[in-house]
Symmetry: C2
DNA sequence: AGTGTTTTATTGTCGGACATTAAGCGGTTT
DNA sequence: AAACCGCTTAATGTCCGACAATAAAACACT
């Protein structure tokens, strides 16, 4: 009796028209889940992928806005016409895509992808690609000066003071390798954030993270290295304060150039940058990042 | 009778020591699945997350190398001491992380994260962040000249010819908007690849993709625009051929600068760059990307 | 050997089950 | 009345067992 129906469902689950069929069941849900007909998959598409794709489309399209809470798994499952197990696989995918956030197990909401996430993902990818310090440095040579330039244009008094504070902490952390690296990263990230260019922020973060981790391997070889870095930092901050765009950019460039000299002394040039122990621990000040 | 055992298992699944407990069962598998004790999660960690984390760690650590095939789900599940359903959720997560690739449903193998993947992810993130053309342009102003510079240093005869071919196709595609954009992207990507800097390639791709999509909105406003772009392309190629590093960089910069002028005329400056219809269709030549 | 056919093992999906626990609810306390 | 607390409820994480579809392997056949 119910065997026939179930068989048809099985069939539907393997047919391309699956989504369309489901449309019938979905138009009347509480958040107006309209399944998009735009998606035209070439490969065999499994139910869990379709579900993930569908929800993703709705988020991208704006039907579901960041912060919106999703209904329970049971309801979602019945809405899409699949079992909880299947739906769950789709959710896990979206979860690791960073499109869904999960403040508590009982609450699953739409989230804007955070920079951190992309950062760690890119960082991991670069580590797996075994990129060299040279590659990292070449790119950093253009990103950091740009960041400094933008920061000079947009920095508010408060922001510059905060930057100065970080720099102060860095100076105070002399000798503590881990803390030094964390604060150095923080300093550069802060400058990028002051520049108010999210694209630059997104692009440079994973790169800088990997590159500056090399500090650890450079320090033993170059005694003066640390001092010169500090000096350059100061000069960049001063230039930002003076609103001297070119000077800020110039010092930033010199700063990175100098880093490269250190790397050369340490023989890192074509060495592979290692993925740091925990990529996510880039929160030295302990402040909660909104 | 078996109730007691099951209860203990349940407990274990919720306890932090889960991984360690499992270690006992795993040391003797065929690929030497040693569960790492390094992972120290603070939040409540669910089994499927631990599994995903564990496999990820093994890949990152190099225990599992790209191309390695994973055992079947059943075996994996029993290895980790969870059900297939649970294991599957973990796999889905890794799958969308791009760490696992799936050439056929019967074959799940370790994969190096492909640039495309990261690209589309970053592109999506930027779209959700509603980044403006200005932000994209500011970064592109430094990435493309760098790409041109590196390409000049590393380009082989063949590569330059291939680049020239793409350019030729672009010229021939006059009037066909979609194809023009695709080939323009291809041209820029090719230059970046010639430069042999994977970091730059990773960083610039999603940005360039979004920025150059603006061409569509600019074209109607600036009749000469298309021609000037073509000219700049030619000049960059010529400079690369002549191994004139500075000239290549200069023309690349002028090219992007000019693009901005077009964007200004079209009034795009602080408009939000839209996520293109399908981010993954950046394969104009139809060649399979290894 | 090359090719077509049958087995087999694995996958995608299903439905139901249960312990655990976050969240909502009503009652109590100050 | 507002704040606090235990209880109920509902939803989650996990498990089990099952079945159709199918890719890969084993086999048979010419």
């Amino acid at each position: 009796m119910s065997d026939i129906k179930r068989f048809e469902d099985q069939q539907a689950a393997f047919l391309p028209g699956f989504i369309c069929d489901l449309t019938q069941c979905c138009v009347s849900t509480q958040w107006g889940l309209i399944l998009s007909e735009a998606t035209k998959p070439a490969q065999p598409t499994y139910a869990y992928q379709q579900i993930a794709g569908e929800i993703e489309a709705q988020i991208l399209r704006g039907d579901l806005k960041p912060g919106d809470q999703l209904p329970g798994e049971a309801q979602l499952a019945s809405t899409f016409g699949v079992t909880r197990s299947t739906l769950r696989e789709g959710l896990r995918q979206l979860e690791s895509d960073g499109l869904l956030h999960r403040p508590s197990p009982r609450r699953m909401e739409v989230a804007v992808p955070q920079a951190d996430q992309l950062t760690s993902r890119s960082g991991r990818a670069m580590a797996l690609m075994k990129v060299t310090f040279r590659e990292l440095w070449q790119v950093t040579m253009v990103t950091e000066p740009l960041a400094a330039r933008l920061a000079t244009q947009h920095g508010t008094e408060d922001e510059i003071n905060a930057l100065q504070a970080t720099h102060g902490a860095l100076v105070a952390a002399e000798g503590q390798m881990a803390r030094t690296i964390a604060l150095d990263e923080e300093y550069h990230t802060q400058i990028a954030e002051i520049g108010r260019n999210r694209v630059l922020g997104l692009a440079r973060e994973p790169i800088a993270l990997l590159l500056f981790r090399g500090f650890e391997q450079i320090a033993p070889f170059a005694p003066r290295f640390y001092k010169r870095q500090i000096e350059a930092h100061s000069n960049v901050i001063a230039a930002i304060r003076d609103r001297d765009v070119d000077r800020a950019e110039k010092w930033a460039r010199m700063h990175i150039e100098d880093f490269w000299r250190g790397a050369q002394i340490a023989g890192l040039e074509d060495k592979i940058a290692l993925v740091p122990g925990s990529l996510s621990s880039s929160n030295p000040t302990g402040e909660a990042r909104k």
